[in-house]
Symmetry: D2
Subunit: 353 residues, 4 copies
Amino acid sequence: MIIMKTEATDKEIADVVKEVRKCGLKADVSRGEFRTVIGLVGDEGKIPFSHFAVLPGVKEAVMVETPYKLISREYNRYMGEENERRTVRVGSVDIGGDKPVYIAGPCAVESKKQLFRIAEGIKKAGAQVLRGGIFKPRSSVHSFQGLGAIGLEQAEAALSWLREAGDRFELAVVTEVRGETQVDLVAQYVDMLQIGTRNMYDQDLLTTVAIKNKPVLFKRHFGAGIEEFLSFAEYIAAEGNKDIVLCERGILPLGKGRNYTRYTLDLAAIPAIQKETYLPVLADPSHATGRRDLIFNMSCAAIAAGASGLMIETHFDPKASFVDGQQTITPEELKEVIDACNQIYRLIASPGK
Amino acid sequence: MIIMKTEATDKEIADVVKEVRKCGLKADVSRGEFRTVIGLVGDEGKIPFSHFAVLPGVKEAVMVETPYKLISREYNRYMGEENERRTVRVGSVDIGGDKPVYIAGPCAVESKKQLFRIAEGIKKAGAQVLRGGIFKPRSSVHSFQGLGAIGLEQAEAALSWLREAGDRFELAVVTEVRGETQVDLVAQYVDMLQIGTRNMYDQDLLTTVAIKNKPVLFKRHFGAGIEEFLSFAEYIAAEGNKDIVLCERGILPLGKGRNYTRYTLDLAAIPAIQKETYLPVLADPSHATGRRDLIFNMSCAAIAAGASGLMIETHFDPKASFVDGQQTITPEELKEVIDACNQIYRLIASPGK
Amino acid sequence: MIIMKTEATDKEIADVVKEVRKCGLKADVSRGEFRTVIGLVGDEGKIPFSHFAVLPGVKEAVMVETPYKLISREYNRYMGEENERRTVRVGSVDIGGDKPVYIAGPCAVESKKQLFRIAEGIKKAGAQVLRGGIFKPRSSVHSFQGLGAIGLEQAEAALSWLREAGDRFELAVVTEVRGETQVDLVAQYVDMLQIGTRNMYDQDLLTTVAIKNKPVLFKRHFGAGIEEFLSFAEYIAAEGNKDIVLCERGILPLGKGRNYTRYTLDLAAIPAIQKETYLPVLADPSHATGRRDLIFNMSCAAIAAGASGLMIETHFDPKASFVDGQQTITPEELKEVIDACNQIYRLIASPGK
Amino acid sequence: MIIMKTEATDKEIADVVKEVRKCGLKADVSRGEFRTVIGLVGDEGKIPFSHFAVLPGVKEAVMVETPYKLISREYNRYMGEENERRTVRVGSVDIGGDKPVYIAGPCAVESKKQLFRIAEGIKKAGAQVLRGGIFKPRSSVHSFQGLGAIGLEQAEAALSWLREAGDRFELAVVTEVRGETQVDLVAQYVDMLQIGTRNMYDQDLLTTVAIKNKPVLFKRHFGAGIEEFLSFAEYIAAEGNKDIVLCERGILPLGKGRNYTRYTLDLAAIPAIQKETYLPVLADPSHATGRRDLIFNMSCAAIAAGASGLMIETHFDPKASFVDGQQTITPEELKEVIDACNQIYRLIASPGK
């Protein structure tokens, strides 16, 4: 990490970048409020730090060994923005800002009619972002894989419904990309690209998505520790894209006998992650619990833990939902969740009031 | 499970109990508001249900296969108290009632002076129950094992300080028993006996504690699924003691790399457990996270998840604490936690307001 | 699953396949020694089984609900080959046959010279397949990602060395593909395509690899249960490619405190998997333990557990290895492993002798 | 740890012990072949090492921070017995010596006749130690808890059968103690006391068992890391009893979907533990897999991994077994296991032959 002086000129910055590249590394230039920091992408062992420390305009040259340095609080600190959280703009919605953000919608897009009816419902309930799965990752090849699996035409149709529904109801839209070949297509239609839990470790997909320069919703793998989660988010940042929204969605359950929830929602990960990185963190209580009767409590708990928002599966008729009906709530139930969560968010932000 | 008619006489009940014993099982008689239910302790395969169904005063004889039937919601339902939660009275404090209960105090009792100063602090902060470890379970035989390990005299002294502090500051008191030989002694001094996470599976200790007829604070083992947790709570109920307060305190962390918390606080277990049993559930964010900087958020989250209260390690000088200082907060910080949690508790109880 | 009569004609088979497609499913035609079985790929709920049962040439039409039916023992059984294990031919080597197969080589290909020297060493030691990583999956974007990451030219050079080394020393060759765009290139050079532990859930990559009609070495994800592992192998089989070699490589470690191995090698998974599927299973003690001093014992244990072979990282100078040196053994040590394992394999195959 | 000079006199040793006690610690005196080492039990922070280093007869005074120093290889090393494994004598059987030891018998003692018939069977099969549960730990209070649960008379009868069967068929005998109050009674009858997986963390039970000065069979908890397992074995050693036999019996299974085994048998723990401690390690494939059809393979694998023996549930009629029938094998099957394992043990001990 090369920390430039406050008064460093553009030329001095450019010269340092050139030197970094000569060493075989990539440079990540971040212009903070107080100073510019140049992050090094690659093996810092190849960098002669003493040489860099004396280049014109350089304040300090520091070795940083953590595998997620570009998204770390340390990076912020050098820029003089230690306590800031990054606000990620998705369409016209700010994630990580003053208000919690609610992403809602069906697990899978089934039809235009279904999607529009749900979009209208979640808008009324207070959600700001519409989700809908088109390329569905599934445990069994024999299960419904989303409309995207039927063919290109169906995939494009579903994507265009998503875009239209977003425009019509003033919602930003997000959908999951599961494979590299889907990225170009999907990026034409949505405001944010989602990388699902099963693809967290898929570094080629991460890179392919990152370079589209759209915000990325990045979900933790259900078997990943926090350090690994952040280390893979770094693959996105390493391409110069720091519009990353992290999402905790439950880790593998543990213990003999039944556990009564599909996964273990690791809520303490939320404040713990926020001590490590400036990126905003959401929670997905739907996939984590797999139970509609726990969504209200676990949504409130996630916001109390410090989440910047929630992702909740919503359908006007959960039982008729193609996928994951047992964990889906109605727009009316969503409204109750949002109302309670907004109050808790305010209470947590200013506990004394 | 034998469900008696509303009008069943005491003699009819006693006769059924006699018949149950003849079959080699124990009978757990619970008199509900609407009717009496007789739970069967032991292998129900030995019971001729058709014979029992026609005994005088019997409404129904039902086989229940779950390993935790005596503490199950099903049991309640037959008594006509389906939606009730049991209120466990500890000294003059009700756990599971209208207000959240806060148990606070030092990890280990160090001296009378230390204990009194902390007791005064937590009382002011709003806590209702004082905790203080005397027989400390430790991972290493070479670590400080609590004053109880030094000798009987020291153990009794520490227990009497706990009692005195409780009386002086009007706090109920609880401490952990780790081995069967400690139970009689400890029960003379405290209002509630705690069984710690490492002893959850110790069924002989559970039975020994249960028969003292004091409320039991029963912590989940860090490797136990919910079904196992409840199945071992049943060992206490099987002795006729249903004054059991459950406590979620974190399960084993998962995933490669660092996790930044000592355990994974499984907050979704709280509402999930409450669907299974009428017993109240607390959360212990101190041991779960091992980090003082996460206590505020995780306390709020636990209450939002539906906990009936919290157990929080508190010390006026966390850094000087003999044990677990890095997860201990001050009485002043405790007050902030309690104030925020009380507000969230009210908000969750009546979300529309 | 449609089981044809022994005497069913090709036309009758083709007609059934046509009917299956009309229902919107794909058909997997397997001609066994005794009869042909037509597996159904997709949601069997859409199939009118009673209609299929009376089509000409059909013996039986059975619904199979397991998510891995195409690779299941049940499939075998209907073909009349219940106790068979599939032999997968890789170059001129048979995996799953009479003799255990040893895949060895460096974690990462570093240079032609390094690769040839290792290839010669493992050949002498008794290995039959050469491995060498070119596209390396890594936890940190800042670590060495293999020669494949440098550029297309370097990737092709490394692949050609692998091919040459294989030809020169009469070894089959295998390397990992990490992203969809690498598949075409890699398939031109190697005898078997490897899908690594982190990509197990990447169903688009699985499909892309499957249709190259090369044998696939498919490693279990470190957080996957056996049922999930087999369900994702089914994605490969669903493309008509059943030349799948499974590999157990360790699951997430568990428990507080240090564990002294990187992962937990789940050896009981090997015989358990072999009861479920006819596919051969290997073990990778190198990645599982992360310790060269445990390779000998854990190799012998894996063969004793019933593995059809092993995958072992080998380098003439483990300490100079770019990646994973601490788990790498020398060709001389490999020879000791192979000699002991061959004896155990014979002993297990005919325990009475 | 105080390392004495080779020529240190008994008086010098006694004087050092006296000084250790003055500091509030206990002393563990081990007389090795080359020199005496005095282990310190308690917090070494209280020891003025520089003072001890100059006492008469002292060679060196070293701080050892590991929580399992008394059973560590380091301890051996200072005594000059670095590569030794401790041989634990149980009745007339040596565990950890030249030959693998097989402990077999029923999960639960059901009757004298049952026990004698099984004892005869396992003796013929080649086993050296008879096991039989009398105080059974169970997940459900409603399940059969062993004859010990019926009453003292039944418990004594069952214990005397065990003793008689051992004497009659020249087998050492072992049974589990689950609570502190059972220890005195059980110790009168058996050659070795077993502490089961669920009681691993029960330090009061460990201490109570240790002071009987009988060999202890100590099973790993299914949620314990290796470091914790050894740290709790240290509780036994701290009472001066180092006749401890460790036993790996499977840890919690992991991953979504079915896993097909009850626990994950962590065989790599066996050689890993043997690098840390001089104590012998056994494996229990019965409880680990829960499946009779996997016992043969997993027994062979455990011996190949380096186990000093096995513990296998055996019954002449597994289906009629009161408890755990699905994981129990017959004496005839046991013979096949033992014959194969003996061959593998020899092969592993001298791989070149």
